[in-house]
């Protein structure tokens, strides 16, 4: 796709997870005003605006967030239909949409009257599988790495883990659902470069897919979804096992996922990285080869190189997160305790301040209650509320005052 924008069209980035999607969405969100001047809309009121739309489209409860998502897809689609240029919509969980949901998505966007392009960013399975297990652990799961791998390799795919994983990662199937009514030129695959590639390369590929090549955009983002090492993930899993029953999701999000995982444990370097055991690595490589063969046959527009989907060389050394080196886990645990301690100190200081302000407010309230005029008014209202005529009088009084409050 070129960068010129002349007609209404929608670029739908539908996944996959763990392919730099958060980074891309942050860049698009941070640059949304500038993009509009170029005729490109990224219609979101918050960085995860399209996440809510995806929940709505797919009727997906998500820890209470779904109530904020009601009507979000239709609102987003209507905005895209109103915009005369290009609209970009991006969220990775869209990858799991069923055929019926895809049909609804395309219809509400005005397809085929509106030119719709589907973008799928993809990464090799030998990196995706460990990354997905880690993501599961960061979302309160407690299953072992071995159990996770077994579920993925089971052809029945009957459990929730396998259903979700293949729903968002099996590239040919995702495109069967999303692209069956589009021509291959309207389907764009962005491959994630192998480890060690220049940091800007992935963004350049996305820029090509979205038609943003050559634009001067601010590429700095605050939100980094960094990965954890083997002992850090093992520690997190143990924390889940010990605390899940007592920590509500809202507190887990703040204290475990954000404070511990993202802000503390992901900063640790030097610990062994998650990888696949050799037999699973070989199985994933073979599967990836079959996907690459299928994608080549379909003739989609590939931005990058399909070889990026194939692991190179020999399987890396495997460090088992189900049997980690305890010394490494202990070191990670001490850092986690320190982070929680510092957070506790900060919260105690906030608490002290709130106590002080509450005491001041109570004193002020007390002074107000002691006024004779207040006590007289309170007595009058109580008396009036005891009789039907009195209640009517109070209603009339409140009506005249222009409010319907129970307070006098």
């Amino acid at each position: 796709m070129g960068s010129a924008v002349s007609a209404r069209r929608v670029i739908l980035h539908v996944g996959t997870p763990k392919t730099g999607t958060s980074y891309v969405q942050d860049v698009l969100y941070n640059n949304r005003i500038k993009l509009r001047t170029e005729g490109i809309a990224y219609p979101a009121e918050r960085f995860d605006g399209h996440f809510l739309a995806a929940l709505d489209l797919m009727r997906l409860p998500w820890g209470g967030l779904e109530q904020e998502a009601v009507g979000a897809w239709d609102a987003l689609a209507a905005e895209a239909k109103r915009w005369p240029g290009t609209t970009i919509i991006s969220h990775e969980i869209l990858a799991t949409a069923s055929r019926a949901q895809v049909k609804r998505a395309l219809e509400t966007l005005g397809h085929p009257g509106t030119e719709v392009h589907v973008v799928l960013s993809v990464r090799d399975l030998v990196r995706q599988i460990p990354a997905e297990w880690q993501e599961n652990i960061k979302h309160r799961r407690t299953l072992s790495y071995r159990a996770f791998l077994d579920q993925l390799q089971d052809p029945a795919r009957s459990g929730n883990i396998a259903t979700w994983f293949w729903g968002v990662q099996e590239i040919p199937d995702i495109l069967d659902r999303w692209a069956s009514t589009l021509s291959p030129e309207q389907v764009h695959l962005v491959t994630v470069p192998p480890s060690g590639a220049p940091k800007t390369l992935l963004w350049e590929r996305f820029a090509t897919a979205f038609g943003l090549t050559g634009m001067d955009l601010d590429l700095h983002v605050e939100r980094v979804n960094a990965s954890l090492g083997v002992p850090e993930t093992a520690l997190l899993r143990r924390i889940n096992q010990a605390a899940n029953a007592e920590v509500e999701p809202v507190h887990y999000r703040t204290l475990v996922r954000e404070l511990l995982a993202h802000q503390t444990l992901s900063l640790r370097s030097g610990s062994p990285r998650l990888a696949l055991p050799e037999p699973v690595w070989e199985w994933a490589r073979d599967l990836s080869q079959s996907w690459v063969g299928e994608i080549q046959k379909r003739g989609y527009h590939v931005i990058g190189d399909l070889d990026d989907l194939l692991p190179s060389g020999e399987p890396p050394a495997f460090s088992d997160p189900d049997d980690p080196r305890e010394r490494q886990v202990n070191r990670a645990a001490v850092e986690a305790i320190k982070a929680l301690l510092l957070e506790n100190v900060r919260m105690r200081e906030v608490e002290d301040d709130l106590h002080r302000r509450l005491a001041e407010t109570e004193q002020a309230l007390e002074r107000a209650y002691l006024r004779p005029t207040y006590r007289l008014r309170e007595k009058t209202v109580r008396k009036l509320e005891d009789s039907g005529a009195g209640r009517k009088a109070m209603q009339a009084y409140r009506f005249v005052r222009g409010r319907n409050s129970e307070s006098a």
Partner: protein, 345 residues
């Protein structure tokens, strides 16, 4: 030969037509031939639910069958599955299945999703709240008993006064709380819900009778507490609660909070309470926890010396035999409701 002309696919479309006509023949026993009637064949889960609708009696309305065939189930579970023998032959995606092998919970998930979608356009008005009488005393405890005693009444005027703590067996009270909370749609299944409390060794605040009584007596005096233990009123049947739980869960992503509240109050809750049945029992693994807590509660109430109506030993009784809603019955409930439709008065 194009995919549309493949014999398996033609047989699949013939089965779709058979089901649309009210047919009940299972896929494995079906033979027929028809041309394509859409861009893709409905999935195995959708087709099996349509067959279940037909099996339940006279042919259901064509509209409800079409809604089922076109829907995808809300929430998490199996994706849409291809019909084995009429599938695309793709080596990717989930394996095609015989609809007879589809797990019941997937049929229930799809059915409750369709039931929720039917309520999206419904905007019921809440009945006008009358000024009504005031309750003579505060009543707390088992939610169904509380409702029986002061349902429709306003809170007592005085902030103090007497508290009547009402309860029955702890097991029944747990079920009553789960049933009532299920109608808000944000509660896990019965087994998981009980296990959560058991793991942290706590009781839901509203039915921790001894604690309710102690708190009140500390603030207002020992003589201001009365504990009343009695048989729990008829609770809604577990199958109706489970169906409603899943409907409300699906509704949470379909309608705004205010409409959801009105739909619950006016449409869903009355339907649930019109289907009474025996309460569920606590799963076997949590029974020691239940017995210990019921015994402790009885001991604390007796030791505190509050006036007690009824036998404190009732707290420890257990009569329930089933520890989970039976999926076949939940499905029957969902199918019946799909056929009859909601009462939207």
């Amino acid at each position: 030969m194009s995919a549309v002309e493949a014999p398996g696919l033609r047989r699949g479309w013939a089965w779709v037509a058979h089901l649309r006509d009210g047919g009940t023949t299972p896929w494995a026993e079906f033979d027929g031939d028809a041309t394509s009637q859409g861009p893709w064949l409905p999935g195995a889960i959708q087709l099996e639910l349509a067959r279940q609708l037909n099996l339940a009696g006279d042919a259901p309305s064509p509209e409800v069958v079409e809604r089922v065939l076109a829907a995808s189930a809300p929430g998490r579970g199996l994706p849409d599955l291809e019909l084995i023998g009429a599938d695309s032959g793709s080596e990717f995606g989930p394996r095609p299945v015989d609809p007879a092998q589809v797990p019941l919970k997937e049929l229930i998930r799809l059915g409750t999703g369709v039931l929720a979608e039917e309520l999206v356009g419904v905007q019921p008005a809440l009945p006008r709240a009358g000024r009504g009488r005031r309750a003579r005393q505060h009543v707390e405890g088992d939610p169904l008993l509380v409702h029986r005693q002061i349902g429709g009444l306003r809170e007592p005027r005085a902030p103090g006064g007497r508290l009547k703590v009402v309860g029955s067996s702890l097991e029944n009270m747990l079920y009553d709380v789960w049933a009532m909370r299920s109608l808000t749609g944000s509660v896990p299944s019965w087994g998981r819900w009980v296990r959560r409390f058991s793991e942290v060794d706590r009781l839901p605040v509203g039915i921790d009778l001894a604690t309710l009584a102690r708190r009140w007596s500390r603030q207002h005096g020992h003589h201001q507490v009365l504990v009343s233990l009695e048989e729990s009123p008829a609770a809604p049947a577990p199958e109706a609660v489970e169906a409603a739980r899943q409907v409300v869960m699906a509704l949470r992503v379909l309608v705004p909070a205010d409409q959801l509240h009105r739909l619950r109050e006016v449409v869903v809750n009355p339907w649930v309470f019109a289907h009474p049945g025996p309460a569920l029992g606590v799963p076997a693994t949590e029974r020691p926890w239940l017995a210990r807590n019921a015994g402790l509660m009885a001991d604390r109430i007796v030791a505190a010396g509050y006036p007690v109506h009824g036998d404190p030993g009732m707290l420890t009784t257990t009569a329930a035999t089933s520890a989970a809603p039976r999926p076949q019955r939940v499905l029957q409930t969902v199918v019946t409701l799909l056929r009859e439709g909601w009462d939207q008065r």
